[in-house]
Amino acid sequence: MSKIKEFIIEKIIFLCGIITIVFIILIFLFLLKEGLSLFKSVRIFEFIFGKNWYPISEPPQFGILPLILGSLLVTLGAGIISIPVGIGCAIFIAEVAPRWLKDILKAFIELLAAIPSVVLGFIGMVTLVPFVKNFFGLPTGLTAFTGSIMLAFMAMPTMVSIAEDALYAVPYTYKEAAYALGASRWQTIYRVIIPGAFSGILAAIMLGIGRVVGETMAVMMLTGNSARIPQSFFDPVRTLTATIANEMGEAVVGSQHYFALFSIGIVLFIISFFVNITADIFMHHKK
């Protein structure tokens, strides 16, 4: 009797073990099921490189190039800000800060990770948006630049904690060897520790950027939602994620518009899949 029970329980545990794979496949299949219907009437090339996103005009146009460029621009801006600052912060926490400060800083980073994105979006609206508008003399403060600043901030927790882990994992003996050769602390950091942790730092950057590409609420509240090809950082843009969040509520189920939003979902899924797989390869490279 107890053997049968044990057998059943082991099977249940096994099922729960593979359920994550099942969920990933289910997510992809359901995105495909709805999203691929679009390509009965729209060619993939037109979808990805089409310059116009007019989903509800007659005839509708489903070109997501403006949205891709919007996501790209915001991500680029966020990357330029967050990579040096985030990695610098990680190095400070891992190598420079005294022990007591280290714990406080890490707690702060964890706190930042926990703040809901809709709250950061709201705070951005009441502080950052008017600031950008007045400081640069723009007609609106809802720009790619505004989104980039807030997103850079949101990429920090991922980037800092993973980079910090990678730096920490560099064997202590490397450090001692460098000191023994008369290297200063800083020389040791940038000649020994950073190269030693390099692949982990790359993984940290990738995952931070992945977080930025997938961010929805804050970016939707801060970037102005204009689905046109942006000319500069100070234009309003609309990202892939914001388009889905904004328009799904109004799209008629089963319409081309509805399918098109799922197609954007497929694009996002594929991007996040590649980012995560690559980051994982980098992370295991260090062994």
């Binding site: 729960c16 997510i27 912060c89 706190l111 926990a114 703040i115 709250v119 800083w186 979902g265 996040s272």
Partner: protein, 281 residues
């Protein structure tokens, strides 16, 4: 330049970077607390929204978030814990466990709005649950699985191998060992993971957009097939969708959400620190 001067410049730069990350966090919290605190009152927490959400409170949103989070954790906790048990106790490092690990990493990385699409396609449309608490909670549940699995794995790993070996040597079966020896030892760590998952679920907006969230529904849900309001979505609505909402109400809502989410996280962090100190092995 002397190495010492160089080092000083470099360290100042690194310190500056750290300040750039830390200071805004403090600033954001101060702004929300300072402006939100005057809005907080018993009435704000227990009243329904009135006058087109420009007056009254956010009680239905609080209740909505409570139900959603409860549903998500009821769904995700057993599955997540079992999955971690499988990975840690029942399988060795092979191609299959590596696939599962990759799936977990990917689940953690999928944009939240894509979870919203998925929840809509699977639960709302395919299973015909409609836009309901059930659909929203299940969507959130899948989203927090990686958090629960990862922290449960960490908790299981911290239980020394010898504990299992002693139990096996007494002729106790694998599952009995896990149930009687491993899980009780790992229990506090698992609870910490569950709390972190709850914190994550409570703050998410995008997965709720098309699966459950009601724009304005000033009553309490009657069943799991009802729509509900949720605090994060409510904050989104009153800060972007409706003009002329008094600042006070917006900050108040933001403060309630921040207190809730940070409170949950802080609780988990403190629990974790206490556990690490208390661990007897």
């Amino acid at each position: 330049m002397k190495p010492h001067t160089k080092q000083r410049i470099a360290f100042s730069f690194l310190f500056l970077c750290t300040l750039l990350v830390i200071l805004p966090v403090g600033l954001i919290l101060i702004i929300i607390i300072k402006n939100g605190l005057p809005a907080l009152s018993w009435q704000f927490l227990t009243d329904i929204p009135r006058a087109g959400m420009r007056e009254g409170g956010i009680f239905p949103a609080i209740i909505g978030t409570f139900y959603l989070v409860l549903g998500a954790i009821i769904f995700a906790l057993p599955i997540g814990v079992m999955c971690a048990i499988y990975l840690n106790e029942y399988t060795k490092e092979n191609i299959f466990s590596r696939l599962i690990r990759l799936a977990i990493i990917n689940l953690a990385g999928i944009p939240s709005v894509v979870y919203g699409l998925f929840g809509m396609a699977l639960f709302v449309m395919f299973f015909k649950f409609g836009t309901s608490i059930l659909s929203g909670a299940l969507t959130l549940g899948i989203m927090i699985l990686p958090v629960i699995i990862t922290s449960t794995q960490e908790a299981l790993r911290s239980v020394p191998k010898e504990f299992r070996e002693v139990s096996f040597s007494l002729g106790i079966s694998k599952w009995q060992t896990i149930k009687r020896v491993v899980l009780p030892c790992a229990f506090p760590g698992i609870i910490t993971g569950a709390i972190l998952g709850i914190g994550r679920a409570a703050g998410e907006t995008a997965p709720l957009l098309f699966t459950v969230a009601a724009f304005y529904l000033p009553r309490l849900p009657r069943s799991i097939f009802d729509q509900v309001m949720a605090i994060p979505y409510h904050l989104y609505v009153i800060s972007t969708q409706i003009p002329n909402i008094p600042e006070k109400i917006r900050y108040g809502t933001a403060l309630v959400l921040v207190i809730l989410v940070l409170g949950i996280n802080l609780f988990a962090i403190i629990l974790r620190i206490k556990l690490r100190r208390k661990q007897r092995w």
